[in-house]
Amino acid sequence: MSATTETNYHAGPDAVSKKKSRYRRVSKGRGNFELWSWVFMRASGVLLLVLVFGHLFVNLMLGEGIHGIDFAFVAGKWSSPFWQTWDMLMLWLAELHGFNGVRTIINDYTEKDRTRWILKGLLVASALLVMVLGTLVIFTFDPCLDPSSTLSVCAR
């Protein structure tokens, strides 16, 4: 903030459009972050609609529905690179979409800087935990951990 607030009568007509002008009110540091986060919410939302509806249909509507879900069911799905990729994409997009949504809500409702930074710290930590742990589980998972597995990939 400049100490002098006197009007500069000699600024001339180009004073505002000049990049360094003190009359220019566009901030320089943040770039287009909020614009891209707005674009991301819409693009990831459309992709998630397909990914999540597909996930729910295959897991809850087909076969025995919710009661069919056990270790063997997960092993069957994640022995296929198709479902590993599907679930990884869904995990990342959903977590980043949720991260961005909760970030907006924190910005809307917190009044003290301290509260805002504590909540955002928890948000970043939880998002990192979910994405790192989830990705590791999808790709280091061993479907043959179950000795009674009947999956063909586990046949010796």
Partner: protein, 125 residues
């Protein structure tokens, strides 16, 4: 421009309530995703650990919670499409109220068959 017959009020009407429901369903889904990734991570511990937790979920109370979760997913997804229409379609803002009722109809069409199928499984095992 909004006509007097349609009302010019945004607050307290379809526009505001769909915004409120979008926030609440979004936060709910975010919290669920956290729990869902942690419990699914048990497949990395042992088949028994995972199966034990999945068995504990197979009761009517959690079953009703799962129906509520799917309801939140369907509403959030359809209202998200409405938001995209309001943002990118020239006539979107004009028809945002009609779009809200389209979301409600789409919700019933998608949720009813799921609820019948899912709750039948949950309550008749």
């Amino acid at each position: 421009m909004a006509q007097a017959a349609n009302g010019t009020l945004y607050r307290g009407r379809e526009g505001m309530w769909s915004w409120v429901a979008h926030r609440i369903s979004g936060v709910l889904l975010f919290l669920f995703l956290f729990a869902h990734v942690l419990d699914t991570a048990l497949v990395r511990v042992s088949p028994d650990a995972y199966n034990e937790v999945m068995e504990a979920y197979k009761n009517p109370i959690v079953g009703l919670g799962e129906a509520g979760l799917v309801a939140a997913v369907i509403f959030h997804a359809l209202n998200g499409l409405r938001i995209i229409a309001v943002d990118f379609w020239a006539k979107g803002p004009k028809y945002q109220r009609q779009l809200f009722w389209a979301v409600v109809i789409g919700f019933v069409v998608l949720f009813a068959p799921f609820a019948i199928r899912h709750l039948t499984i949950v309550f008749t095992r």
